[in-house]
Subunit: 261 residues, 2 copies
């Protein structure tokens, strides 16, 4: 049985203000819970568990991986329905401590990195993190105006990939200006018109800037982009205006990786 | 000012049962409304408008494209908030008559066609329709167990591309069995293991089967698939289990089209 205070705390974590205040975020589902519990036993684990809420059945089946280092609450499905952010609640929910990730410029060396300029939909950000994981892109740099990594919808859409991809938030203008003037890392951006991504030369090291869902890449960032990439549409009369940013990210990552495989 | 009956009707269209009963679905937003109104003037237009609900400002600006063939209701933003399915309501909402689309086997000849096996999330289906439009894929065949085209979330995620791509619902077992045994059209499917899509031969005519978000392609359909395609992950130790289906669709469509461009 959950206390009113617990329910209030968990529900409040829908909002960034309360996630920041309590330094906690929510993870739901058996698969991610399993991965987190395995990872929590690891010395280098990024995330620490604050508490776990699960059905009696789940607890029975997973007793071995529960370490005793954090409180476990056995709750009913009615309780889970009250605290879940999903339309169909799962058997387990965890509160996880937010850990500050420290950026190191060396992370960019020899690697592909996604740079997210004001992607506002948490589902889009989450699926971008998932595709980055698929293609072995270890770091994502987001503008402060992008969706929050710890929004329950972002976390859900990553399907566990937030455990493997580091996501940093920073002022992109300063960050890109710095990369542009002090490093030789190529900076790519996706635009509606630019070099055909299918035939353009693509390096195995670089920053790839993806823009806002409706406005694209901010004007102030454009001077720092070396190569404008575009995904050609198949010639049709009534070509759509744009692609979904998470689908564009998938196509762009696919093209960069195809060259190296 | 909207009547209670109007509000009740519009809100009920969230559910397929009532969309089918009233033969109506909802479209929101200025861009799609504009396209629909232009299309409605066209003799070959697929969709007929039932009614339109908009702010006084929108009506003033768009008087020229309002044909007088359907009722227009000037409503307040408070009214729009009551009937909208979006978290941020737009200035205009339309009710559109559902039109039965008649499938013609000739539609498959010489073209790429997506075949959707139980994609359940309306947002995923909508973005798949959007990517099909981008790559000039004119037809999508869905299993009866897939998300509904006319779900407000599907329509919203298409960003207007539902006007350009035909979406049919049918029993996929019978459909694929028929294509397999009576035509020479190649049938591709996406799997977690299969031929590397980057190096495999891909035709400019074919059916491309995409499977359910968690279960993939149904077992009963597998005998009809000529070529198993897979999207290779970049070699990482903790490779994720799968890709988001809408992102996989984007990568697959991109690969098919890249060869022909």
């Amino acid at each position: 049985m959950l206390s009113k205070a617990q329910i209030k705390l968990i529900r409040s974590l829908k909002h960034k203000k309360f996630r920041d205040k309590h330094n906690l975020f929510v993870v739901e589902g058996e698969k991610v819970a399993g991965e987190l519990l395995l990872d929590a036993g690891n010395e280098n684990s990024i995330y620490a568990v604050h508490s776990l809420y699960a059905s009696s059945g789940w607890i029975r089946q997973n007793r071995e991986i529960l370490s005793g280092k954090f409180p476990v609450f056995e709750i009913t499905m009615e309780d889970l329905e009250q605290i879940s952010f999903l339309s169909t609640p799962r058997n387990v929910m965890m509160l996880i401590k937010i850990r500050e990730m420290i950026f190191n410029p060396g992370f960019l060396q020899g690697k592909l990195t996604l740079v997210i300029d004001t992607v506002q939909d948490p589902g889009n950000l989450g699926t971008i993190i998932r595709i980055a994981h698929w293609y072995g892109i270890p770091n994502i740099i987001c503008s402060m105006t992008s969706a929050d990594l710890y929004n329950p919808k972002t976390i859900q859409a990553t399907m566990g990939s937030f455990l493997s991809v580091r996501v940093f938030y920073t002022d992109l203008y300063g960050f890109l200006k710095d990369c542009y003037s002090t490093t030789s890392i190529p900076i790519y951006g996706t635009f509606l018109s630019g070099s055909n991504i299918y035939t353009c030369e693509l390096a195995s090291e670089g920053l790839i800037v993806l823009g806002n869902e409706s406005k694209g890449i901010s004007e102030e960032l454009i001077p720092f982009i070396h190569t404008w990439l575009s995904i050609p549409a198949f010639p049709v009369q009534d070509k759509p205006d744009s692609l979904n940013v998470a689908q564009a990210a998938a196509i762009v990552c696919s093209e960069f990786r195809r060259r190296g495989l």
